[in-house]
Amino acid sequence: MSEFKQIGRSFSRTDGLDKVHGKQEYVNDYQPTGLLHAALKISTHAHAKIKSIDTAEAEAASGVQAVITGDDFPVTLGLYMGDHPPLALHKVRHYGEPVAAVIANTEHQAKNAVELIKVKYEDLEVISSPTDGLKANAPLLHENMDEYTHIDAVHPEPGSNVANHTKIRKGEAAQAIADAEIVIEDTFSFPPCDHVAMETRAVISEIKANGNVVIHSTTQAPFTVKELLSFNFDIPVGKIKIIAPPIGGGFGGKAGIQLEGLGYLLTKAADGRPVKLVNDREEDMLSSPGHIGMEAKVRLGATADGKLIAAELDYHFDAGAYADYAVNVSNAAAISCTGPYDIPNVRCDSLCVYTNHPFATAFRGFGHVELAFPIERSMDLLAEKAGIDPVEIRMKNAIKEGDTSPTQSLMDANTGDLRECIKRAAKMINWDQGSFIKKDENKVIAKGFGLLWKSPAMPPNTGAGAIITFNKDGSLNLHTGIMEIGQGSKTGLAQIVAERFGTSPENIHLVQEVNTETAPHDWSTAASRSLMMAGRAALEAADDAIDQICRTAAIPLRCPPEDLIVEGGRVFLEDEPSIGLPLDDVVHGYVYENGNAIEGQVIGRGNYIARRLSGIDPETGKGRPSLEYTLGAQAVEIELDLNDYSYQIKKAVSCMDVGKVINPNLARGQVVGAISMGIGLARSEGFVFNSREQVVNGVLRDYKVLRYGEEPEYEIDFVETPQGDGPFGLRGLGEQGIIGIPGAIANALSRATGVKLNYIPLLPEDIWQSVKEASHNDSI
C-alpha cells in the first residue's frame, strides 16, 4: 500500500481533452481586431553579401502596409550573445535567413508581395563544418564579435569563429592517458537537424497606445522573452506583457527568444497595430533554429581490466550562423562531458563554432544527447579493445555516490543508482541471451547499450514560483510560470498539490496559459526542471495556504491552529475529525451567523530557488553548476538485412532513476517520446547540404521523422532513489530518454556489421558504404 494517495497514480493530462478535440487555442488561433499579417523573404544563399534589396514592387502591391529590411532596424539581438540581427544586415550567414518582411492586410497579400522583393547577393566563401571554421584561414562569420554583448558564462574568441570555449581540467589527463594500459581514440559526427515540433513558431505583437507591448508567442520561456525584449529595445520591463498559451511541442526549440524580436519590429513598423507572423514548416526548419551538429574526438585511457582512468575530449559543435542557445549547449556538454562514468583525469575542450548552417538552439537533451553519442560509442570501442562485455565495462565504470563529476563536484547522497538501472535494462533487452544473433543467411539481430545522465543547464540562481487561490466551492487554482508544452508538468503539479491537500487533482484547477503580467516569475520551461522546481514552489504555496486555512478555522473552532489538518475538502481536528469545517466556509474568510466576517481569502504563496549552485571556473571548469543528475541505462535491439543494410529497431528499453514517479503513464509517455526522437536522430534526421551549404532536404517530404508504425516495442522502467531536495523525492525525466539512444543504435549496428559506425543518421546506404570501405581497407 502506497503511503501516497495522489502521487504515483496515472491521472489523465489536464490539457488532453481540449487538445484531442481540437479545442485548444494556439497562438495562430488568435485573431485580434485590426490584425495585420507578415511574411518573410528568406535567403537562398548560405553566405553572401546583400548587394541590394528592391522592395518597390512589393510596397506597391495590394494590401501592403510596410516592407522592412535589416537596414530599417540595424540591431543585433541574442539570447546569451547579441550577434543576431532579426533581419539580415548587409550579409546573410545561412540558407533560409530572413532578409525582408512584408506586412499586409491579409496573409495572402503578404505572401504574394514577398515574391515581388528582389534581392541581389554576392556569394562569400562558406564554412561547412566546425573543422572548416577552425582553419587558420577560414573566413570570419562575425568580424565584430568583440563588440557583441554577452553573458559572463560564455567565452567567445574574437578574431576566430569560436563563439564559446568551455574548458574542463580535472586531474592530469594527458599523463594518465600516457600511462594507460588500454587507449582508444576515435572521431564521431552528426549534422544539424530540426526539432519538427508539430506547431510551427508564431508570434502576434502589438504596441498599445500607452506604449505597452503585448506579445502572444509560442514560447517555452515567456519571462526570458520579456526580459530580453526589454534589454534589447530599451523598453521598461513592466510595460511588456507576454501571453503564452500552451504550445504544440517545444523540445527546446521555443526556449530562447525566437520570432518575438522581429515581431516587435513588425508592429513598430505598422504603427503599433497587431501583426501576426507564423512560420510555415520550411521556415520553421531553416529560418528558425534547430538542433546543433557536432564533430568530436574522444580518447579514453583505461587499465587492462577496463577501469577508466582518463579522458581527453574535443567537442566541436556546429552552432550554425548565430550563437543563440548553442553556446550554452557546448557549455553543458563540457560540464557533463564524460557521461555517467567515474573518470579521475579529464580534459575537455568544448568549442561552439560558427558555420554557414541554420543556427542551433536548445534541443531535448541539451548537450547531453550530443556528448553521449561519442562517449557511448567509445565505451563500446573500449570494451572491444579490452575484451570485456559492453554491459560489464559500463557497470564497472558507472558513476556513484562519492565520485566526482567533470567539474570536480561531489556526487552526493542524492546520486541515483545507475548500476541498478544497468541491471534492469540488460534484463529487459535479454542481454545474457546474446548481443549478436545470426537469424538466417541474410539477417542478423544485434543489441546495443547506452547510458545517460543529465543535469539541468541553467543559471545558478534559477527559481520558480507558485500561487494558490481558491474558488468559492473550496477548490484550488494553481498559478505558476510553467508552460504547457505537451510534457504534462502541470498535471504532475496538480497531483503534488492534491497530495498535500488530501484531495483529488480534479479539485486543482490549472491556469494553462501563462501571462507574464499575472503569473509568478519563472526562468523557462526547459532543462526538465519544472516538476522539481515549480513542484517545490507549489508545495510551499500549499503549506502556506494550509497554514492560513488552519489559522482562520481555529478561530470559530476554538482550538489551536496546529491541532488542525486539511484533508478531503475539510479542515478538522486531527484527533477528533468530526470537529471541523468544509473548506468553502474558510477559504474566503469565515462568516459568523450575524454576518461578521474574519480573516478573508486565502492566497498561498510559494517559491523555490536552486541551492548552493555556482558557475564554473573558466580555466578548469571547477564548480557546482548542476542541480541534480538523472541517471539511466538504455538498450536497443535491431534486425539488419545484410543484403541492402536496411534495418528495423525491434525493441528499445530504458531504466532511469527518477527519484519518484509522480504519474506513471505520463512518465512513460515522456520517456517513450524521447526515445522515439532519439531513434529519429539515429535513423534519419539530419540536414543534407550541397557544396554551397544550401539545405537540400529542408521539407518534410525529404526530411524524415519517425512515424507511427516505425516505432519499436518499448519497455520502460524506473528506479526510485529519492532526490532529497526534490518534491516527494522526484528529479527530472522529460528530456532524458533521448540521450542514450543514438549511441545504443550505433553500437548495435556496429556490432551487426562488424564495422565502426561513428556517425548518425545511419542510413542503409551509408552503412553499406562503411562496410565497403572497411573491407577495402582490410584488403590493403
Binding site: 496573409e107 495572402h108 505572401k111 504574394n112 514577398v114 515574391e115 510555415d280 520550411e282 543484403n643 541492402d644 536496411s646 535513423r683 534519419s684 543534407v688 537540400v696 532536404n697 521539407v699 517530404r701 525529404d702 524524415k704 512515424r707 508504425g709 516505425e710 543518421p761 542510413l763 542503409p764 546506404e765 553499406w768 558504404q769
Partner: protein
Amino acid sequence: MIPFNFKYYRPANIEEAVELYQQLKADGEKSIYYAGGTEIVTNARDGQKKYDALIDLKDINECLEHGEKNDEYVFGACLTLNEIVEKDYFPLFSLACRPVADHTTRNQLTMGGNICGKLPYREVILPLMLVEANFVFAGPEGMRTVAAAEAYDKRMLLNEGEFLVQVKVPKKFAELDYHDVRKVKQSEVDYPLLHLAALKDEADQIRIAFSSICAFPFRLEDIEAIFNDSQLEMEEKVEQIVAKFPIPIKDDKRGSADYRRLLLGQSLAEIWHKLGGDA
C-alpha cells in the same frame, strides 16, 4: 498557403471539362486538370507551379467508375489509391498503389494524378504496363482508347487539352503470378529508390516494369528477353539489363547510382526466385 489567385471549376461531365479547357485556353488562361491535388497544391504552395485555373475532374462519373465490365476491370482516373487498394480487383495494382505516400494522403491521391503527374516516380503505372491495359482519354477530338504501349512513353502521351478518364485491365491478368519489390532510403513513407513490378505471363515469361531507378518508369522487351534467358547467370543478366536502360541509373539525394545498382541486382534476383523463373 497558395500565394496567388486562381479560378476553380468543377465540371459535371466530360464534355463540360473539355470545353472549359478550350475556353480558358482561348481566353489566354493557363489551366490544369485537377484530381487529388496533392502534387498541384504542394507545388503551388512552394512556388514551383503557377496557373490561372483548375478544372477538377472529381464530379465526372466516368472518372469515378470502379468495377467489372465484361472481361475487364475498369478503374476511373479519379479513384483514390485507397479505394483501389480496398476493392483489390487486381492484387498487383493494389501492391503498386499501397506504398505511395501514407494512408491519409492516399485518401486524396488519385490513380490518374499519380500516372499523369510531373513527379518522376509514377509507381501506379507499373502494373498497367505489364497487363496490356487500355487507357481512355477525353479531349477536344472526343474520346479515344489507347493501348498501354501507345499511351505511355516516358510520360502519358496526352494531347493538349486531353485528360485520362479511365484505365481498363483485362481480367485474366489478375489470375497470374506476380511480385513487387520496392526499396527506400530509410522510411517506408518516401519516394522509392527503385520500384519493380513483375508478372509471369501465360507463356511463362516474366514481365518487369521499372520505376524510380531512372528518371521515368519504363518497360522494355529487350530487358525481359535478357531476364528470361535461362542460359545467363543472374549477375550477367543484371549487367546486360542495366546496359539496356534507356538512361543512366539515377543518382540523387535519395540514393547514389551505385547503391541503386546494388538494390537492383538483389531485387531482380528476388523476382526470379519468387516467380520461379526456372520452372
